[in-house]
Structures are given as structure tokens and as C-alpha cells.
């Protein structure tokens, strides 16, 4: 069979079959079209303004490395006028993060960007290795995820930066849509697809310029651009809803490659169908891109794309739901109250029951306030990170000096 020519330039030999739509392209055209698509996402969503200082959440993994490379290229090509900085979080996981941080350090030189590393130990007084030592391997991803979300914000604040971009890709977003459907979490579903989270009220906004980029294309881009990235998964990877949703996405992609984008589209549309959400959130009416509030959640916890939720989450939820069903079967008001309390607990499984003035708002829509300890925005009096820390510190043996 004669070698087929690139579908775009019609001169070079097609070497790449795009995972997204099976179009046959040459290497140069693939790289160009990948960058053009990210550029389109950036301009249509009006992600940046000229002169903006932007921190790239860099883990050393493929997604954030590609994000850094593409942003550098586009910033120069289209004159965004951005001041780009790499921001890395050191969770303190030996054998994983120390190696990937070396990659980020090389990236900083390759892309001529300043690098800031913020450690969990300096922010919280705990490294992840110490956390795991204390609480075991099960459930530690909760800590890591909660800590990381704040860590990026705190790191950005240290640098005086108000915008952090992350490497979340289309697969991550699709995965989150399915995961929230599986978990029956409509309020997260309605927030998870927004390209920007956090608005002017919050100190640091987040965005995901690779929201529409396929993971497989990110890998191809990194490969053909010979990018230097680190590809080991976190050693504390859990098995959870996210893992379940992830394998489902991969199967769907095999059946119909467009499925990933189709799920993203469905997720965006369904966000408007959630009761109580504003039905209009159109980005194209010349207003600023609507931003979903960041309330202690974001998608795709770690750089390894693994979940932040403990293993056996599905089993735990199943058990909890079943208990609720049993309780609702008892037709006395008392039982109903218990069951409702259980429901409320289920929605916030990782928090200690704290008596607070705004307890009434717990069942309803979340209201954004600030943590009384650290000042980080939170829908509770004490934010998740501080609550988790309190538990950890209680168990920490007193070290005599």
C-alpha cells in the first residue's frame, strides 16, 4: 500500500493517526494542530490577559510538562504577554516526588522559567511519607489531595500570582463527569466541567487550558517534541471511583474515539440541568468566562491522575447507601432524622462533626467563607486541611528536645 499523505499539508507522509478522530497527519501538522487547538481554547475562553503572571502547576509528569511547553510556544507565537512561572509541590514522597522534581528543575532550565517549590513539610509540618507512616496506606490520598489544592494556592500567593494553570486533560474531565454521576454528586458535576474555577472573589483562580486535549495526544505531543518528563505513577495509588471511571473511559474510547469529548460535552450540558444551578453559563456572550467557585474540590487530585479518595470507596458508599435505605424504611420521625444525618455525613465523609454557627447551611447550598485557622476559603468554619491536620497532630508522638 502506498504511504498515505498528511490530511492537512498533503505533502508530507502521514505518520500519526490522531487518537481523537483518526485523522492521518504528518508530525509537523500534528504538533501545529495540537497547539492551535489549545490556542483556540485559550482565546475563546479568554483565559489570560496581557501582562498576567501565571503559575503552571508542574509535577514533572506528561500533562504539566506539555502544558509548560505549549504555553511557552503560544506565548511567544501569539504574543500573549504572559509572565510564566513553574510552581511545584513537594509532597515529600521519597522515590516518587524527589525524582520528578529533578525533572521539573530541568524543565525550568529548558523553558527558561523560574521555578518555585513548596513543600508539604514547610506548609503543614508533615511530609506525605510521615502521613502514611501515621495513618497507613489506606486513605492517605485524601490528605494528599486536600493538602495539594491548598498548597498550589499558597505557593501562588507567596509568588504574588493570582492565576494557576493545571495540566488536566479531556480524559481527566470526562473521568470526573462519569465519576460524579457514579457517586451521584450533582453539585460537583455542575462545577467539574468549568474551564476556570475560582472567580475575582477568590484570591487565586485555576484554569485548565488542556481541557479538550486527549491524553493520548498529549503523550504523542510529548514524544514528538522530545519533551523531558517523568512517567512513574505515585507509589501510593489507590483504587477508587476514579479508577473505575478511568477504565470505563478507556473502553469507551476504544469503541468510539470521540466518546471522551462527547462526555465532556454532556457534562457541560448536564451542569445546566442540575436543580438550582443557573441555566445560563454561556461563555460566548462577550462576558468573562463564568467561573465555578472553588470549594475544596477540583478534579484529578494528583499528578499521577490517580484519585484522592481512599480504596474501597465504592464499597463504603454502597454500605452507607444501604444503611440509608434501611433507615428510611423505618417510618418514625426519629429514624428519619438519623437517616438524614447519615446522609449529611455521607456528603462530607472526611470531616469531623464540628458544631458551628452556620451548621444550618450544611444541608443546603455551600456558602463560601474563610477558614478560621488558616484563612483559606472554605465552606466550613475550619477548612478540610486544618481538620485533617488536627487529627494528625493529635496522633503525633510528642518529641522531646
Amino acid at each position: 500500500m502506498a504511504p498515505s499523505l498528511c490530511a492537512i499539508c498533503r505533502t508530507e507522509r502521514a505518520l500519526i493517526k490522531r487518537p481523537k478522530n483518526y485523522a492521518k497527519l504528518c508530525k509537523a501538522c500534528f504538533i501545529k494542530v495540537f497547539e492551535d487547538e489549545v490556542h483556540h481554547t485559550i482565546t475563546s475562553s479568554q483565559l489570560f490577559h496581557p501582562g498576567e503572571k501565571v503559575a503552571i502547576g508542574a509535577s514533572g509528569g506528561k500533562d504539566s510538562t506539555v502544558l509548560a511547553s505549549v504555553l511557552k510556544t503560544l506565548n511567544k507565537r501569539h504574543g500573549y504577554g504572559l509572565d510564566l512561572v513553574l510552581l511545584s509541590i513537594d509532597e515529600g514522597i521519597k522515590g516518587y516526588r524527589d525524582d520528578s522534581l529533578e525533572t521539573v528543575k530541568r524543565n525550568a532550565l529548558q523553558y527558561e522559567m523560574p521555578l518555585k517549590v513548596v513543600g508539604y513539610d514547610e506548609l503543614y509540618g508533615w511530609t506525605m511519607d510521615q502521613v502514611v507512616e501515621t495513618i497507613g496506606k489506606k486513605g492517605n490520598c485524601t490528605y494528599c489531595g486536600v493538602f495539594r489544592r491548598q498548597a498550589l494556592d499558597r505557593g501562588a500567593k507567596m509568588l504574588g500570582i493570582k492565576h494557576v494553570v493545571t495540566g488536566h486533560n479531556a480524559d481527566d474531565v470526562a473521568e470526573t463527569v462519569l465519576m460524579n454521576l457514579l457517586r451521584g454528586d450533582l453539585s460537583r458535576l455542575s462545577r467539574s466541567t468549568s474551564i476556570v474555577t475560582g472567580d475575582d472573589r477568590s484570591e487565586v483562580k485555576r484554569s485548565k487550558p488542556l481541557k479538550y486535549s486527549y491524553e493520548k495526544e498529549i503523550v504523542l505531543y510529548a514524544h514528538h517534541k522530545k519533551l523531558d518528563y517523568f512517567s512513574t505513577e505515585c507509589i501510593y495509588s489507590p483504587e477508587a471511583f476514579r479508577g473505575s471511571a478511568r477504565s470505563l473511559i478507556k473502553q469507551l474510547e476504544r469503541v468510539r474515539p470521540s466518546a471522551i469529548l462527547d462526555i465532556v460535552r454532556s457534562g457541560e450540558d448536564m451542569a445546566r440541568l442540575v436543580p438550582g444551578e443557573s441555566p445560563s453559563s454561556c461563555a460566548c456572550k462577550r462576558q468573562k468566562t463564568p467561573a465555578a467557585p472553588v470549594v475544596e474540590d477540583d478534579i484529578g487530585g494528583c499528578g499521577s491522575s490517580n484519585g484522592r479518595t481512599p480504596g474501597g470507596e465504592m464499597a463504603a458508599m454502597d454500605k452507607q447507601l444501604r444503611e440509608n435505605e434501611e433507615h428510611s424504611g423505618l417510618e418514625t420521625d426519629i429514624a428519619k432524622t438519623i437517616s438524614e444525618n447519615k446522609q449529611a455525613e455521607m456528603e462530607k465523609p472526611k470531616e469531623l462533626p464540628i458544631r458551628s454557627a452556620n451548621a444550618a447551611s450544611k444541608g443546603g447550598r455551600q456558602t463560601l467563607g474563610n477558614c478560621k485557622r488558616c484563612g483559606y476559603m472554605s465552606s466550613q468554619d475550619i477548612c478540610q486541611a486544618c481538620t485533617l491536620l488536627e487529627g494528625l497532630n493529635k496522633n503525633r508522638p510528642q518529641i522531646q528536645i
Partner: protein
């Protein structure tokens, strides 16, 4: 045939009889929602769940002005019978409901027309004989799916602009369509089946179309439709309620899912518990039956994953979830049911956007506009010819466009 109720009790347990958790008298032989129960209590559980829904349906379908004495039944429904375990079980439960009322000396609570849509162009007349014999109160019909191609509800000029008339057969349709994957064929087949059932419900003056979806089927549908880009129209597909049945939605038909509170595995167990078992009726080559009632994890071996439909991927996935985490399945169905039906386009005073030329669900103008903005006009240009000559012309919804032109 071999009809095994789910063996929930191990041989060692059997030696000392385990009492049913509900009646505390009979021996527990079945596992229902993590409880060991007896045959009677299990059957009662299934019947109650269904009767509750039939009651709701009865309230929604107002009786015609009542005539004194022994007038004809005042309600009329149409049931879609796929010959699978769920729709057969629904038929059986409706039959029991009628028998119960007749035994009490009441009139039959409703008339029922049972319709089987056959994928064969000339369905065998004998296929429903066994059903008709067993359920003499109801009338049975078989229609070839190809009848759906001629329905005015589908506007072929937007789907196949190059051909002057509607396709005559499904084979013809699938050869003309640019997108001819198994995923697309399955999606379009589902849409056509639904169209034909709705149109038959309208033409027979039924007040409601009854579908046999189990909790598991609704959860599967939720995720499959999301995976096909049909998130916007999901509330029209999984919720009970009025559905546009005509060309411009001038006719509305109530669509109802009376088995929505029962898991598929419970239905499959139920088919073995009736006497005689429903498994005698259900054709054993029914794929849904095979894959569910197979041995243990029973899934048919897959030749190539590419040849599966989205629905098949989901049913495999949920068979596993249902087995291990049944409450998660129920939660998916319950949560998805909370999504609201939205008619897009009203806020700018543009009025309704109309409905999709193929599926007749409302168009999502706002979502389409935003998506074009976010992905750019070139997004699909490489897979199809050019954007401007793209069929549909804005008359197809996102999901239908995906299934027809790719």
C-alpha cells in the same frame, strides 16, 4: 429447562435452616438487598415495587368520564416488549395486577396492547404465540423496526440530504450513513425503536407507553447517553413524563418505567420464581438474558472491543457494579432522575429551538453555540468533508450528529 434461583445459601448454612429476614417463618433461599429472604417475600417485594408505580401511573392517567355499571376499562396503555427478562416481567406483573382486580370482582384496571418491535423485516408471526396464550387479557402485535423509517417524526432530508426519499430498510440506511460503527448503529436502532413505540402508542390512543427499564437499565442509560454526548436530553430519556411524539411535538405521550425501582439481577431471579417460570417464554438467545443470566460473571467473550456498542460496554460495566455495589447503581438512577428538563433558547426571546430531526428531543442551541466557540469550527472538519456541506444544517442534536455523520 434449567432454572436456578440465585443460590445465596451455602451448603453448610443449609444444614441449619436460615429463616427469612422479613417474615421470620420460611426458609431464606434468596439474597435481596443484602438480606436473606424467602421466595414469598422476594416475590412480594418485586410486586410491591411495581404496583406502587402502576398506582402512580393510574393517578396520572385520568379515567375517562365514568359510566355507571360495567363499562369498559377506562385506561389504556401500550407496553414495549423486547422479549427480554425486564419487559417480560413487567408484562407478567401487569397481568397479575389485572387478575387481582378481576378476582375482587372489579373491572380490569386498564387495557394493554403489547407491542414487539422486531429487527427482522418480516417477523415470524409465531414469536408471540406463547405470550398470547399465557396472557389472554392483552392484545399482542409485532412490527418490523423498518416501519419506523417511514414515520413523519423523522425528517430524513436533514439526515440524508443527498437522497431524495426515506430509506426503505435499515441496511440501506446504515450503508448511506457516513458513520457506520457499531456504536452508531446501536444508537440509531434504539432511537428508531422508541419512535415506533411512541407512534404506535399515539395511533392506538394509548394514554401511556410503558417500558421495562430496571434500575440498572436506567443507570446504564444515564452513562451511555452521557458517553454519546446526549447529556442535555437525558432527563427526557430516563424520567417518567410527557414526550413529544409527533413531527413537531404536537402530540405528547406519557412515557412510564414501572420497574425503575427494581435491579436487573432481581428481575432475572424473579423470572425463575413464577410458575411456570418466565424463562420458558423468554427466547434463550436473547442477548440481554445471556449476558446477565450466564454463569457467575457470565459475559460473552468479546472478539474485538471495537465492535461493541456504547450500550454493550455500559451493560458489562454495570453487571459488575450491580453484583458488588447494588446501592451505587440505585443511587446513579436516583440522582440522574433529579436533572431537570430544560428547553433551551427562551431567555433571549428566541423562542423554542425546536426538536432534533432524528431523535425529536429538544435542541440545545445554547450548548451548541458554546461548544462551537470552545472547540472551533474546524474540530470536525478532518473527519467529514467540510463544515459548510455538513448535513444536518443545525437540525440535528449533538448526539444524533455524532451517530450519523461522525
Amino acid at each position: 429447562m434449567d432454572s436456578n434461583p440465585v443460590p445465596a445459601v451455602s451448603p453448610t448454612q443449609q444444614q441449619s435452616i436460615v429463616k427469612c429476614k422479613k417474615c421470620h417463618t420460611n426458609e431464606a433461599t434468596l439474597l435481596s438487598r443484602a438480606q436473606l429472604v424467602c421466595r414469598n417475600c422476594f416475590t412480594k417485594f418485586i410486586t410491591t415495587k411495581c404496583v406502587k408505580q402502576i398506582g402512580i401511573l393510574g393517578k396520572e392517567t385520568k379515567p375517562a368520564p365514568s359510566r355507571e355499571g360495567t363499562g369498559p376499562p377506562s385506561r389504556k396503555y401500550l407496553l414495549g416488549l423486547s422479549l427480554g427478562p425486564s419487559s417480560t416481567t413487567l408484562l407478567h406483573l401487569l397481568h397479575e395486577n389485572v387478575e387481582y382486580q378481576l378476582a375482587k370482582g372489579n373491572n380490569a384496571p386498564f387495557d394493554l396492547i403489547v407491542v414487539h418491535i422486531s429487527s427482522s423485516s418480516s417477523p415470524e408471526a409465531t414469536i408471540l404465540e406463547k405470550y398470547q396464550t399465557r396472557y389472554p387479557h392483552f392484545s399482542f402485535q409485532t412490527h418490523p423496526l423498518s416501519e419506523a423509517l417511514a414515520l413523519p417524526a423523522i425528517n430524513w432530508q436533514y439526515i440524508l440530504p443527498s437522497s431524495s426519499s426515506a430509506p426503505q430498510t435499515l441496511e440501506e440506511l446504515f450503508t448511506i450513513l457516513p458513520s457506520n460503527s457499531q456504536a452508531s448503529r446501536a444508537d440509531i436502532t434504539n432511537l428508531l425503536t422508541r419512535h415506533l413505540l411512541l407512534s404506535l402508542a399515539v395511533s392506538t390512543n394509548a394514554q401511556a407507553l410503558l417500558l421495562g427499564h430496571s434500575t440498572t437499565a436506567i443507570a446504564e442509560l444515564t452513562l451511555s447517553e452521557a458517553a454519546k454526548g446526549r447529556g442535555f436530553s437525558l432527563p427526557w430519556q430516563i424520567n417518567d413524563g410527557l414526550f413529544n411524539a409527533g413531527e413537531d411535538g404536537e402530540k405528547k405521550m406519557l412515557v412510564f418505567h414501572p420497574l425503575r425501582d427494581i435491579l436487573r439481577k432481581e428481575i432475572v431471579t424473579y423470572t425463575t420464581l413464577t410458575s411456570p417460570p418466565l424463562t420458558d417464554l423468554i427466547p434463550q438467545d436473547d442477548p440481554s438474558f445471556d449476558s446477565i443470566n450466564g454463569n457467575g460473571n457470565g459475559q460473552k467473550s468479546v472478539v474485538s472491543h471495537k465492535d461493541l456498542s456504547i450500550e454493550e460496554v455500559m451493560s458489562r460495566y454495570f453487571a459488575d457494579v450491580e453484583e458488588n455495589y447494588p446501592s451505587v447503581v440505585a443511587n446513579v438512577a436516583r440522582t440522574a432522575g433529579k436533572l431537570v428538563r430544560l428547553v433551551s433558547g427562551n431567555e433571549d426571546g428566541k423562542g423554542e429551538q425546536g426538536s432534533c430531526a432524528l431523535c425529536r428531543m429538544p435542541m440545545d442551541g445554547e450548548g451548541d453555540e458554546r461548544w462551537r466557540g470552545e472547540l472551533g469550527p474546524d474540530e470536525t472538519a478532518l473527519t467529514t468533508t467540510t463544515t459548510s456541506t455538513r448535513p444536518g444544517g443545525g437540525k440535528l442534536c449533538y448526539g444524533c450528529e455524532r451517530s450519523t455523520v461522525g
